[in-house]
């Protein structure tokens, strides 16, 4: 059974540790990169949701990519972006209904969550277990399209 990043919003305190961890894990030229994860207000007082790529089964981002820069990493279960192949057209950024393909303006490229190659730092550093990387049964997986 594959592990997945499981989000439990009730546990999230909005401390943004995940965001920091992600930015450092994806640093560019020694500087923190653009975070792939955002704890956003959940619509109620003190409720936050860490929004991060759901690694959909039938991902809109992958479909929208006309140069096959996005592909499923069988090992990690992540939809990986091959930055060398990406042509910056931002089709995936526009197509993802969850807004989880991101445009990094500073470095002029597109980024998305790659589950840190199978060991996501966001989950590792989450102090409240709002983010966990653990095996789940496939029925709970979301579909984008």
């Amino acid at each position: 059974m594959k592990s997945r990043l499981v989000v439990t919003p009730i546990q999230c305190t909005g401390c943004r540790t995940c965001e920091l961890a992600c930015a450092f894990a994806h640093s560019v030229d020694g500087k923190p990169g653009k975070s792939r994860i955002y704890p956003l207000p959940g619509g109620m007082k003190d409720l936050y949701t860490p929004v991060v790529c759901l690694q959909c089964d039938d991902p809109a981002c992958m479909k929208s990519c006309l140069v096959d820069a996005l592909s499923l990493n069988e090992e990690t279960g992540a939809i990986d972006l091959n930055e060398e192949k990406c042509v910056q057209c931002q089709a995936c950024v526009a197509a993802c209904p969850f807004g989880c393909s991101l445009h990094d303006q500073k470095n002029a490229n597109v980024v998305k969550c790659d589950l840190c190659g199978g060991d996501p730092v966001c989950a590792f550093f989450c102090p409240t277990k709002a983010l966990e990387f653990k095996p789940v049964t496939p029925t709970k997986r979301k579909r984008a399209v």
Partner: protein, 258 residues
Amino acid sequence: MVTLTVNGRVVQAQEGEMLLEVIRREGIDIPALCHHEAVEPFGACRLCMVEITKEAWDGWTNHVTSCLYPVEQDLIVSTHTPKVNELRKSVLDLQLARCPNSPEIRKLAAEYGVNETSFESKPDADNCILCGLCTRICDKMGFNAISTVGRGHGKEIAPPMHEAPPDCVGCLSCALNCPTNVIEYSDVNGKRTIWGKQFELIKCSECGKTTITREFAQALSDRKGIPIEYFEKCDHCHRKELSLTMGQVAGWSKEVQS
């Protein structure tokens, strides 16, 4: 697996891989202006030339473009021999004659010791080095909006009949991947202009931020079956929406729990 030597280092590579991939994976920096992973190797800029030989070749060497040369067992590759450097220098000298004003070419040429071209500069120079990346990426994306026109020294990149290209959707992939940033475009007042054609940029229905062009979204929707509504919001508003939905579910369960 194939074993070969690159600059004295013994390295392993997959069958069918090109030398350039292996060389770059080894962290060796060699220039290549017409190369992009999204498209097939082309071999036009000639900068990624390397020297190859094999022990069995009895001292015979060959110069090949590494982007196009598949790895071979026992191949001995040298990326910076004096001859290879001279070849690159010569190519950059020629490119500089074509594009004397391109900062990108000037910089690269300077790295190989060419500060001014030793040839006659092109009088009406633009910065296009005719690497063909723009057209090849456009073709790869399936739009085929622009192409090379003419041939030889007078070759250029242009839309059909030099008019606004009917097949262009304004995705900007040509401009953003141009190694010399020569393709002009502008995004002003919610309108994008490129190749003399104007496009409407989609405004996020929530925040009004502009995203991709409507033509591009429509093409993606038509060709890939992505619902057109997906394109109505920007990524940020999409994330906010997801956060609220999940928050709602979470909040509902919180209430149930308490």
